[in-house]
Symmetry: C2
Subunit: 727 residues, 2 copies
């Protein structure tokens, strides 16, 4: 036995070294050549090519494979993200800053510090740009620091040490390197091998610990759980159940190993690989179909970031935390031709994804994907023709690595026009009148899309603009379930009293019940900054005796929210309201206040007890709608430092201050919610499930703004033939 153990340990050591070598060689934190960072091909893990045949190169104007040279980028708008040159400058300023001179440090976030709103609103094309500044979040000496770097003067002009409970968003380097930390533990390696998993087949995930009390305090911790990649790319379906390694995120030291699921087999790999290249046969159920635009797309992108389409104009940029930020959204008034403000800024503020299994290996899975992992950091290059249709425009993200080095996330966001056969408006005269009228207009929209792959899950976020003034914000959930191993292979083995915490999806695989909450920050700007929030309550009204043959009807009663607590909205099905953001100082010709309304959708609400630690941290989901006065420190609904936070810096806490919000610069927050009880159709990959909410004009325009748009005529449409190279 001794000799055998020795052999095993030698074997393990060899593999561990091999894996460490592999890891180091792939770590994005160790770039040897700065120029290479800008080159996608040299940076493959973050910039994948499609793992299937591309028969020929796309050649359109919107060619996604045309790599942009970002080294020469210059900012042209006050909200433009930091360029490569600017990021390099920040890196060198930080490097020389006293705090960091003689200590190890990591930059967890380097983004533009946006100028004050009034400066941006006052700026117009041709003006000099306001001073360019970077907002930097850094870890050094066991503390989190927030700095402002002035790019003009080359100085750090602000420096605060965080005193709140949480930690910054992890760096990508931490997320990747920590997954190898368990291999330093012989106990870990032994139990993995004992379960029949070759260490070479190991894939591990960094799972944020959340915060549940003392045990998570005063150190940055992470839990690592592992899977077998043997015989499938879909290792998520092959959990090594019950094995959880607690790691110190600063030192990468293993703190504790919990090893509880030794009786649980690793589920079989058969039929789990989802890659097209791994299918031994395929079904061509549907003939090719494409959105075609004979005269090309109708949108333009000015100065890299200003999107103009139909009656819309907005600034668009990728962001490492939010994913996508749309700013200065404005619509043309069809009556006056004037550009009118609708929203100053919109973004995905936070995601909260609590799993519903209180057992040891699962209770802590209460993810905050934006603040913990970086929703933008996880957004991978989009797949042309499949993620976005032909004629899409692709925008790259330029972000900073943990040491401040800029890198390019190519094709991170796409912009395209969508037409799926829907109808914008129509009217036929009916047989009753018999008039020969049949007027129909197809519905074409502009979509801004990104897709974040936060490990197993894929979140597709769409900002969709309609010509009638409506903005739809849609989130699609796809990707792969986070599953749990189980000894069971059939429901008939299970005692009816037993709780699975989910659904048996396949032999030894349980899809665990979970929720998704995606909270959006919507800094509305209805014809100016000072707006009010009005609940229009639909109330049942009774008629007086003899007044009418009707007993009852619905009446709309307007109620202006004076303070934040008036605008802590729990939706009610049987006591419904509309939610208007109006400009009380501006009225339509016939005297209605101009406004936009929030039209709820995806209304699932968190049912976790409000005093449960995860819900305290995710308290921003306690209401579906909130309204706060604008405050530039209140952008991230779970707090700036959300990792392991105790929940003392959430939207709930801000809103409880009950500040005045009437006729003020206000921010609306909306949370899209999903309950997910998995089913077998979610195995081994999930068809997309979507929900959306709308921002819809309500007496914003004097009248229907799309009446003058013509219908489709036959000769507007293209003449098409199949590609001669087609199979």
């Amino acid at each position: 036995m001794e000799g055998r153990n020795l052999l095993r340990y030698t074997f393990l050591l060899f593999f561990t070294l091999l894996l460490l070598l592999f890891t180091l060689s792939n770590l994005p934190s160790l770039p040897s050549n700065k120029a290479a960072l800008l080159d996608c091909a040299a940076y493959s893990p973050w910039c994948t090519s499609k793992n299937r045949i591309q028969s020929k190169k796309p050649d359109s104007l919107h060619n996604p494979t045309r790599r942009r040279r970002h080294s020469a980028d210059v900012p042209r708008h006050p909200l433009d993200p930091l360029t490569v040159t600017e990021l390099n400058k920040v890196q060198s300023i930080i490097k020389k800053y006293d705090l960091f001179k003689n200590t190890a440090y990591a930059l967890h976030s380097v983004v533009l510090e946006e100028p004050e709103k009034k400066v941006v609103l006052g700026w117009k094309k041709g003006d000099a740009l306001p001073p360019r500044k970077a907002a930097v979040v850094a870890r050094a000496g066991g503390a989190s620091h927030v700095l402002t770097v002035d790019l003009g003067s080359g100085e750090v002009t602000r420096h605060e040490e965080s005193r709140t409970s949480g930690y910054p968003t992890m760096t990508l380097e931490e997320m990747t390197s920590v997954t190898w930390a368990p291999l330093a533990s012989a106990d870990f390696n032994r139990t993995v091998v004992d379960r029949g998993v070759d260490l070479a087949d190991l894939a591990c995930l960094p799972i944020s610990t959340g915060w549940f009390g003392k045990s998570e305090e005063k150190r940055r911790l992470i839990k690592v759980q592992c899977y077998s990649t043997k015989d499938t790319a879909n290792f998520y379906m092959r959990p090594i159940e019950g094995l959880t390694v607690l790691v110190d995120l600063d030192t990468k030291q293993v703190v504790e190993i919990t090893d509880q699921g030794k009786n649980i087999p690793i589920p079989n790999a058969a039929n789990t690989d989802y890659r097209f290249s791994a299918q031994n046969s395929y079904q061509r159920l549907i003939n090719p179909i494409s959105i075609e635009q004979p005269k090309g797309p109708s949108f333009t992108i000015e100065d890299d970031h200003l999107v103009k389409w139909a009656n819309w104009e907005f600034h668009l940029k990728p962001d490492p935390r939010a994913g996508v930020v749309v700013s200065q959204v404005r619509a043309v008034d069809p009556g006056t031709g004037e550009m009118r403000d609708v929203m100053y800024k919109g973004l995905t503020s936070e995601l909260f994804v609590p799993y519903m299994d209180p057992t040891d290996a699962w209770y802590f899975k209460t993810y905050m994907d934006a603040g913990e992992y970086g929703f933008g950091l996880q957004a991978m290059p989009l797949d042309p023709l499949n993620d976005c249709p032909r004629n899409a425009y692709y925008m790259d993200g330029v972000f900073a690595a943990g040491d401040g080095t800029p890198y390019v996330r190519s094709d991170m966001v796409c912009v395209f026009e969508s037409y799926g056969g829907d109808i914008g408006w129509r009217h036929s005269e009916s047989p009753i009148t018999g008039m020969e009228i049949r007027e129909v207009r197809p519905k074409v929209t502009l979509v801004v899309r990104m897709a974040a792959s936060v490990a197993n899950y894929d979140y597709i976020v769409d900002w969709e603009f309609q010509t009638d003034g409506l903005i739809r914000i849609k989130v699609g959930l796809s990707g792969i379930l986070m599953v749990k191993g189980t000894p069971y292979s059939n429901m008939d083995q299970i005692n009816t009293q037993e709780t699975l915490y989910g659904t048996l999806l396949s032999e030894n695989v349980i899809g665990v019940i979970h929720d998704h909450y995606i909270t959006f920050y919507l800094d509305m700007e209805i014809d100016g900054s000072d707006n009010s929030f009005v609940k229009v309550n639909l109330e049942r009204e009774y008629t007086s005796p003899g007044e009418s043959p009707r007993m009852s009807y619905l009446k709309a009663v307007r109620e202006v929210a004076k303070t934040e607590k008036d605008a802590q909205i729990k939706l009610k099905l049987y006591d419904p309201s509309e939610f208007h953001v109006i400009n009380p100082a501006k009225k339509t010709r016939v005297g209605n206040p101009v406004g936009y309304k929030v039209v709820p959708g995806g209304t699932a609400a968190s049912l976790i007890d409000v005093n449960d630690p995860p819900q305290k941290r995710g308290a921003f989901t306690n209401n579906q709608i909130w309204v706060t006065p604008y405050n530039d420190t209140e952008q991230w609904a779970g707090g700036l430092f959300v990792y392991q936070s105790h929940g003392e810096d959430t939207l709930q806490e801000w809103s409880n201050r009950d500040r005045e919000i009437e006729n003020k610069d206000i921010v609306v927050w909306y949370t899209l919610g999903f309950h997910h009880i998995p089913c077998q159709e979610d195995f081994p990959i999930m068809p997309t499930v979507s929900s959306s909410f709308d921002l819809k004009p309500v007496n914003f325009f004097e009248r229907n703004p799309i009446l003058k748009i013509p219908p489709n005529f036959e000769n507007d449409l293209p003449i098409c033939k199949a590609d001669s190279a087609a199979a």
Copy 2:
């Protein structure tokens, strides 16, 4: 004054005669030539051409202008609608039937009497058709009759006189002819002229009276309200407010005139005409865009009614009351290749559209569009390229006029494949794992569409089939508001205590608040007829002290509905459930019952008091979901005879019998609800507002059914150029 009055009356008489002449010449009830009825061009009021230039003729296989010769149609499937030949035969049998020999009569409905379900389920292609029968609803001698006509024997094999309170769906001839009845009243004509409206400019609408008590009993009544068509095709924006004419629908006699709004001006016509041809300028905001399929559509339509697409197959037919009926919906199991039953029959059962204004000219507006007006009767020919994209297939309706003569409603339903850039499923590996995986599949669906124009409103009903097994049922609301005249031209004229019952949309125009409820009949057939309805309740569960750092989590608790009252579902936001229809006798490999779930959407609920007469008639909206045991007399949620019914034959009454529904042949009912507080953007035409609900497989398939479908490759897509004839 005497002379002037005489002149006026002569004038009126002249106009009245002229209008009557015009009416008679346009009445669909008076066809002089049967063959002409089958020819669209000769039958223009029901078969319009587009009122704009068509530059060239479409020439594809799916050419909507290729008129089908329906005179030679033969039935090929037990559920195929009655053909022209069959309708002619029914007409001649009815004509000779004793009851109708010596009396005036009208046929209010002539449709196929579907064979018993088990006969249909047992039938397969190649078998002889089961006996063909017609279900006829007729009015004669002041009574409503239900008859079965056996087309084989030429006999009336069933004849019942209705003893319930309501009346049949109006015939189109009644709806059109009754609008001219008020002109027989000199009082009516005088007040119209006194309000400044030329009688030649009059357009009137037949408005179902509803039922509010004694005054509506024992006679068929209708209310007629009128508009000025002067200077606009959009006469709906020019109400002659307060003028309501009560007409006897059997005799066409004016019963009563209420004339209350003499001080209310007719709103101005300026800028209300919505026709493209009436715009003095237009905005080409968007370049042409089209869905193109280089190899043509992927669906086929066998024997005129059997739609086959991807993994789906179903029977499709137009229906004068429901609009569209889908039957025998089956999906291919990707594992076994077997065709599996999902739904036996789905249709729009009823619509309930109550307005929220209790005043004299408005309180009764509580429409039931299917049972009162015929949802299919109001579905007009679709507009190619705008109502449905290129490559759509168009299906005609063949219906019977009031005298039994068949006629063709051309292009009433379309079938097309939709692709708007959405994603069916995707997964990228994230930067965390760094694996080079990016798998994405575009989402292509099959849509069945019709659009009913019930006077002002246009309802777009889509049945959308997805390759992942989901069926989405979507209703879009567009068209024109029913507005109310008012003396006000600005909100500042209005006392804050005064109720408008709506929104001031333009000078003298109020958009009145109203609701829409569309109730669907869904006869589910999950792998066979005997199914159960299971509520899967999401309940908050607390952990025991010391069990977990988590206090709480969600638990799914299954609850099988035993009887109908267990399945009277009022949705709850904070006590949510999933709603499964399962086959308790069939399990997946790992032991889950196979099923589909109803995924709610459009959840607005009626807030009218349950004892208010309209709500008693619309009691089928008291819950969002109901489940009843299959009963072939229970298909129309408001009752077979819904016109002026007292509400004694509704889904609520049936369900209150509390029959057993566990492991039975069950029918699920779902109601899509909308509250509509109009806004200025709804003037003078409404951009489409949509809601939908889903039928979604839940452990129906062993696993994700779409894994083997390939992504789009560049050379799959077409090569297109602009039409050389393009402007």
